[in-house]
C-alpha cells in the first residue's frame, strides 16, 4: 500500500466521520428545541417561539450565548482535570457512533452489493458500544472531583453509583439479544430481524426492551432518574461550569440520548427495516431515523410525565427489579432454545442460527 492510498483512505475516513459527527451535533441542538416545544405543548404553554420562525433559530441563539459567556475556573479547582473533564465526557458519546449502522446502500446502484452504512462494521460492535459508553462516567467523576466543591462531588458520586448499577441490567438485556441473533455485529443483528414487525426482537424480548430503554434512561440521567443534577445539589456535577464547557456536558448528554435511542431501534425494533415489507420502498435510513426520533420523543415524554425517583428507590429498581428480571429472561430464552417443541417457536426469530 503506497502513501497515496493511505492518504486517500484516511481522507475518506475523515469524510465519513464528519458525515456522522456534524448531523449528531446539529440534532443535539434541535433536540433541545424539540424538547422545549414538546414539554410546552404538554404543559399547555407555548415554549420557545420568538427567535426565527416558530422559534427555530433558538438553539443557534443559545449556542451563541453560551459561546460568548466567560468560562470561569474556580481558584481551588484542579485546573488540568477541570478543563479535561467536559472533553472526556463528550469524546465517548461521539466515538460510540462509529459502529452504528445507519442503513444499507448500493450508492444508487454503483456498487454491486449492498454496503452497511457505518464507519466501522465491527464484529464486536455491541461490545464496543458498551465499552465506550461506559467510559462517559469518567468525565462526570472528574468534573465532580476537580471542581473541589461538596455539591459537585455528591453529584459525581451519585452518577457513578447510578451508571455502574444500570450498566449491568443493560448488559444482560443485550445478552438476550445476542442469544437470539448469534452475532455481536450490529448489522447482523438488524439482518436477523428482516421481514416485518413480527420478526422484530421486540416481541420475544419485550421485557428486555423495557429494561434496556429504562436503563438507558437512567444511564444518560434523564428525568425520572436525574438525581445527579437535582435542585438540592444546585445542578450536580457541573455546578461550577459555565459557557462552552457547560454546553459540552449537555452535548454529551444529548448525544448519549441519541445513541441509546438508535441502539434500542437497532437491537429491538428491526433497525432499518420497515414494519411491513410492503413499505420497503422507503429508504431504510429513513425508517431507522424515524424509530430513533420516536424514542427520543418518548424520552422527552418521560421528562414531562414522571416525577423524580428517590435515590434508594432508583437503586432498588436497578438491582432488585431489573437485574433479577434480566437473569430470569436469560434463563427463559436459554431454556426455550433448547427445549424441543418450544424451540420451533423461538427459532422463528432466529433465522440462520436455530433451525
Amino acid at each position: 500500500m503506497s502513501w497515496l492510498d493511505v492518504s486517500i483512505t484516511a481522507g475518506i475516513w475523515a469524510l465519513e466521520i464528519l458525515a456522522i459527527a456534524v448531523p449528531v451535533a446539529l440534532s443535539v441542538a434541535y433536540i433541545t428545541y424539540v424538547e422545549r416545544r414538546v414539554i410546552g405543548f404538554m404543559q399547555v404553554r407555548k415554549g420557545c417561539n420568538r427567535v426565527g420562525w416558530a422559534g427555530l433559530l433558538q438553539p443557534i441563539a443559545d449556542g451563541l450565548k453560551l459561546f460568548l459567556k466567560e468560562t470561569i475556573i474556580p481558584t481551588t479547582a484542579n485546573k488540568l482535570l477541570f478543563v479535561a473533564a467536559p472533553v472526556m465526557a463528550l469524546v465517548p458519546a461521539l466515538v460510540a457512533f462509529a459502529v452504528v449502522p445507519f442503513g444499507e446502500t448500493t450508492l444508487f446502484g454503483v456498487w454491486e452489493t449492498a454496503h452497511v452504512m457505518a464507519i466501522a462494521d465491527l464484529n464486536i460492535g455491541v461490545l464496543y458500544v458498551m465499552a465506550i459508553s461506559s467510559l462517559s462516567i469518567y468525565g462526570v467523576l472528574m468534573a465532580g472531583w476537580a471542581s473541589n466543591s461538596k455539591y459537585t462531588f455528591i453529584g459525581a458520586m451519585r452518577a457513578t453509583c447510578q451508571m455502574v448499577s444500570y450498566e449491568i441490567a443493560m448488559g444482560f438485556a443485550i445478552v438476550t439479544v445476542l442469544m437470539m441473533s448469534g452475532s455481536m455485529n450490529l448489522s447482523a443483528i438488524v439482518h436477523a430481524q428482516q421481514g416485518g414487525f413480527w420478526h422484530w426482537y421486540l416481541i420475544p424480548l419485550f421485557p428486555m426492551f423495557m429494561v434496556y430503554f429504562i436503563s438507558g434512561c437512567a444511564e444518560v440521567a434523564r428525568t425520572p432518574f436525574d438525581l445527579i443534577e437535582t435542585e438540592e445539589l444546585v445542578s450536580g456535577y457541573f455546578t461550577e461550569y459555565s459557557g462552552m464547557w457547560f454546553a459540552t456536558f449537555s452535548l454529551a448528554e444529548y448525544g448519549a440520548m441519541i445513541l441509546i435511542s438508535l441502539l434500542t431501534s437497532i437491537l429491538f425494533l428491526g433497525g432499518w427495516y420497515a414494519p411491513l415489507p410492503v413499505l420497503d420502498f422507503i429508504p431504510g435510513t429513513v425508517w431507522l431515523l424515524a424509530k430513533t426520533s420516536f424514542l427520543i420523543f418518548v424520552f422527552i415524554w418521560f421528562r414531562a410525565t414522571f416525577p423524580r425517583y428517590r435515590y434508594d428507590q432508583m437503586m432498588r429498581l436497578g438491582w432488585k427489579v431489573f437485574l433479577p428480571l434480566t437473569l430470569v429472561w436469560l434463563a427463559v430464552i436459554g431454556l426455550a432454545i433448547y427445549t424441543p417443541g418450544i424451540s420451533d417457536i423461538i427459532n422463528f426469530w432466529r433465522p440462520g442460527v436455530g433451525a
Partner: protein
C-alpha cells in the same frame, strides 16, 4: 510498516503512562494514568487481531474496575507528609524488593523466551475468522472445567464480600419499599362521619 509504527506508539505510551502511575504525586492523576495504560494495552491487543480481548479489557478494567478505584481514591484524603516520614525506615526492604524484581526482569528478558525466535510472529488471522466465536468454542469445550472453577471462585468472592460488609443495624429504621409501593388510600386516610 504502519503497523510497526503503531506498535511503538502504543507500547511507548503504555510505558510512559505506567511511569506516570508510579511517579505522579496526585493519586487521582495516577489512576488516570493507569486508565490510559489499559487503553494502550487494549490497542496492542487490537494490533494482534485479538479484538475481543482488547474490548473486554476496556469494558471490564476501564469501564468497571477503574471507576470503583477512582471512586475510592477520590474519597481518600492522603497525607503525603505522613507517608514520606517512614521513607528511610522502609528503604532497605523496598530497595531489596526492587533489586530482586529488576534482576528477575533482566533474567527473563535475556533468557531468549521473549525474543523473535522464542515467540514467532503469529501473523494475521484470516478475514472470516471470528475471534469471539473461536474463544467461545475453546472456552466451553476444552477449558470448560477451568472456566467453571473460575466462575465458582468469583461467586465465592462475591458472597464473601457481601458477608464481610453487610451490617444490619437493629436501631436504624429501614424503609420497606414494597410496602410503600403497595399502599392504598384507605391505609392512610380515615373518613370520619360528622
Amino acid at each position: 510498516m504502519i503497523e510497526l509504527g503503531f506498535f511503538y506508539l502504543f507500547s511507548g505510551l503504555a510505558v510512559v503512562s505506567a511511569l506516570g502511575v508510579v511517579l505522579s504525586r496526585n493519586t487521582v492523576h495516577s489512576v488516570i494514568s493507569l486508565i490510559f495504560c489499559f487503553f494502550n494495552a487494549a490497542a496492542l491487543f487490537f494490533l494482534l487481531d485479538a479484538e475481543f480481548i482488547g474490548i473486554i479489557l476496556i469494558l471490564v478494567y476501564v469501564g468497571a474496575v477503574m471507576v470503583l478505584f477512582m471512586f475510592v481514591v477520590m474519597m481518600l484524603e492522603v497525607n503525603f507528609a505522613g507517608l514520606r516520614e517512614g521513607m528511610l525506615q522502609y528503604l532497605p526492604v523496598g530497595g531489596l524488593v526492587a533489586l530482586v524484581l529488576f534482576i528477575e526482569i533482566v533474567a527473563a528478558a535475556g533468557s531468549g523466551v521473549f525474543s523473535p525466535t522464542g515467540i514467532p510472529d503469529p501473523g494475521h488471522a484470516a478475514q472470516h475468522v471470528n475471534n469471539t466465536v473461536e474463544i467461545g468454542k475453546l472456552l466451553y469445550t476444552k477449558y470448560l472445567l477451568g472456566f467453571e472453577i473460575a466462575a465458582i471462585v468469583l461467586l465465592v468472592a462475591l458472597v464473601g464480600a457481601v458477608v464481610l460488609t453487610l451490617r444490619v443495624r437493629k436501631d436504624a429504621k429501614y424503609q420497606n419499599i414494597s410496602k410503600q409501593v403497595n399502599v392504598n388510600p384507605d391505609d392512610r386516610m380515615r373518613k370520619v362521619k360528622m
